[in-house]
């Protein structure tokens, strides 16, 4: 019976967690539409999420593009000829559809999700969230909404830039290391790419940005118990948003390209 009680309590705790998260998300979304909207804070978050994530996302993208070109060239050498065309196509399709959004999402989850959880979590344990309430300021409006809006809007921008940088990385390796014709590479990339490849990637990015911000804010908002609690909140934010990113990635791919 002890064993059954254990299973029961784990399931109940899990369901309560899901319930809290759903309520949190619904409250946050409802506050997005109601004034007052803190444009200053949204702007600051956009700079933090969009601009300051550029180096890390750009580096991730360029190396992904480079390694993709190298791997597909050496890999395709085992199959038939014509690999020169295939490399450009593989690079552009895999970057825009998959690697751009997923890698940018994971990097931003580590950078931004963690800092959101740590900042809001510290505000929770030092009573700053309570202080906001006593000063007639809703913590959702003041802290959560700007992060969610900025995350959802900036991730697609970051991914678009990552796509371009990644394709450039593939181009550099193909032309300077593998000795492809640069003009042919560019026209191959351009001709083969379809709008839906890029659009699906940007939709993914928007969903990932929303997920990262919600999970970061949620973990921070519900953290308790001092430094250890804030540490746990930070870990939870990064782990849960990374897993959700990979899950949503599959679901969205299925919606766009599933037969």
């Amino acid at each position: 019976m002890q064993f059954l009680a254990l299973i029961g309590s784990v399931v109940l705790a899990f369901l309560a967690h899901i319930g809290r998260l759903t309520l949190f998300t619904a409250t946050a979304i409802s506050h997005c539409a109601r004034p007052p909207i803190y444009f200053r804070l949204i702007g600051r978050q956009m700079i933090d999420i969009g601009y300051y994530s550029l180096p890390v996302v750009g580096l991730t993208a360029i190396f992904s593009g480079m390694v993709l070109a190298l791997q597909s060239y050496t890999g395709f050498a085992r199959f038939a000829a014509g690999s020169e065309n295939a490399v450009a196509n593989v690079v552009v399709v895999s970057l825009t559809r998959e690697l751009g959004p997923v890698l940018a999402g994971l990097m931003v989850a580590g950078r931004i999700g963690a800092s959101m959880a740590a900042e809001i979590g510290t505000m929770r344990v030092t009573e700053q969230l309570d202080a906001l309430t006593t000063l007639s300021t809703n913590p959702f409006k003041y802290l959560v909404v700007p992060r969610i809006v900025a995350g959802t809007m900036m991730l697609p921008v970051l991914v678009l830039i990552a796509d371009i940088i990644g394709v450039f990385g593939g181009f550099v390796v193909s032309v300077y290391k593998l000795g492809f014709n640069p003009a042919a590479y560019i026209s191959n990339s351009y001709d083969f790419m379809q709008p839906l490849d890029v659009i699906s990637g940007l939709v993914k990015a928007g969903v990932f940005g929303f997920t990262i911000a919600v999970m970061g804010c949620y973990a921070g908002y519900h953290s308790k118990g001092g430094a250890q609690g804030v540490g746990a909140a930070t870990t939870n934010a990064v782990v849960s948003s990374s897993i959700l990113i990979l899950t949503f990635n599959y679901i969205i791919t299925e919606l766009f390209f599933g037969t």
Binding site: E119, M123, T126, E127, Q128, D130, A131, L132, T133, T134, L135, S136, T137, N138
Partner: protein, 262 residues
């Protein structure tokens, strides 16, 4: 409604307020009336639920049962958007200061002014500097970040933030805890000057008896979820209650047994 009835309505009134966390009952039937302009101090050991009491009144926590009224108006079950109107009457000094470390000192003090009264940044800053002066801080302190201030200065800024919006009621959560005795007394004097002398109603919680005697008109003691004693501040030293006597004199021996776990 005639004028005598208005004057007898307590500023804050708690009736049979209960609050528990899990199996632990923290507030177990609290009854407390605070008149307008009165300064009431709740004393009690650490972890006895003094902070919970204040958090229930300002709406951060929801009591399980009972009634809390401010100016005769029930505030226990108000919707979130009406809560703001109630909170406008409140100011609060938090135990750790709870200053927003992402903002400079003046913006901390002016925060409520900008949010509630929608003052422009320049107007709010002027008011913030004025309020900082009231608590004995020069205008250049306003440009510092809260992390650069000492504990006593942070308390002063917290006090300035609490009174900047000219509230009707101010709550003090252990105003002197963590300060040296002299700085503690400076804060006591500031509380008297900024709150008591302005006719603002005050509810403080503390375990610092010197501070309690000084800032309180009335003292009440919270023990095991109940208010076990209530009387004028000058009577606390001869309360004739073994619990209060033990607490006031700080004796390890007596009817109060230290709870190790909360």
């Amino acid at each position: 409604m005639n004028t005598t009835a208005e004057t007898t309505v307590p500023k804050i009134s708690l009736k049979d307020v209960h609050k528990s966390f899990g199996a632990k009952s923290v507030l177990d039937g609290i009854n407390l009336d605070i008149a307008k302009g009165e300064s009431v101090v709740v004393i009690g050991g650490s972890g006895t639920g003094k902070s919970v009491l204040i958090k229930c009144i300002i709406g951060i926590l929801q009591p399980d049962s009972g009634l809390i009224a401010v100016d005769g108006e029930d505030v226990t079950h108000v919707p979130a958007n009406a809560r703001d109107a109630v909170n406008r009457k409140f100011g609060m000094l938090f135990q750790g200061g709870a200053l927003f470390d992402s903002l400079p000192v003046w913006e901390n003090v002016a925060f409520g002014l900008m949010q509630r009264e929608h003052l422009s940044r320049a107007q709010a800053k002027a008011r913030a500097v004025e309020t900082l002066e009231k608590v004995g801080l020069s205008p250049d302190v306003g440009e510092l970040s809260p992390a650069e201030l000492s504990g006593g200065m942070q308390k002063r800024v917290g006090l300035a933030r609490a009174i900047a919006g000219e509230p009707e009621i101010v709550f003090f959560d252990e105003p002197t805890t963590g300060l040296d005795p002299i700085m503690g007394d400076v804060i006591n004097d500031l509380i008297i000057a900024c709150v008591k002398q302005q006719g603002i109603t005050a509810l403080s919680i503390t375990h610092d008896m010197h501070s309690a005697r000084k800032i309180g008109d009335r003292i009440t003691m919270l023990y095991q979820g109940k208010l076990i004693w209530d009387g004028a501040a000058r009577d606390v030293d001869h309360a004739d209650n073994p619990f209060v006597d033990q607490f006031v004199h700080g004796n390890a021996e007596g009817p109060i047994k230290m709870q190790v776990r909360r």
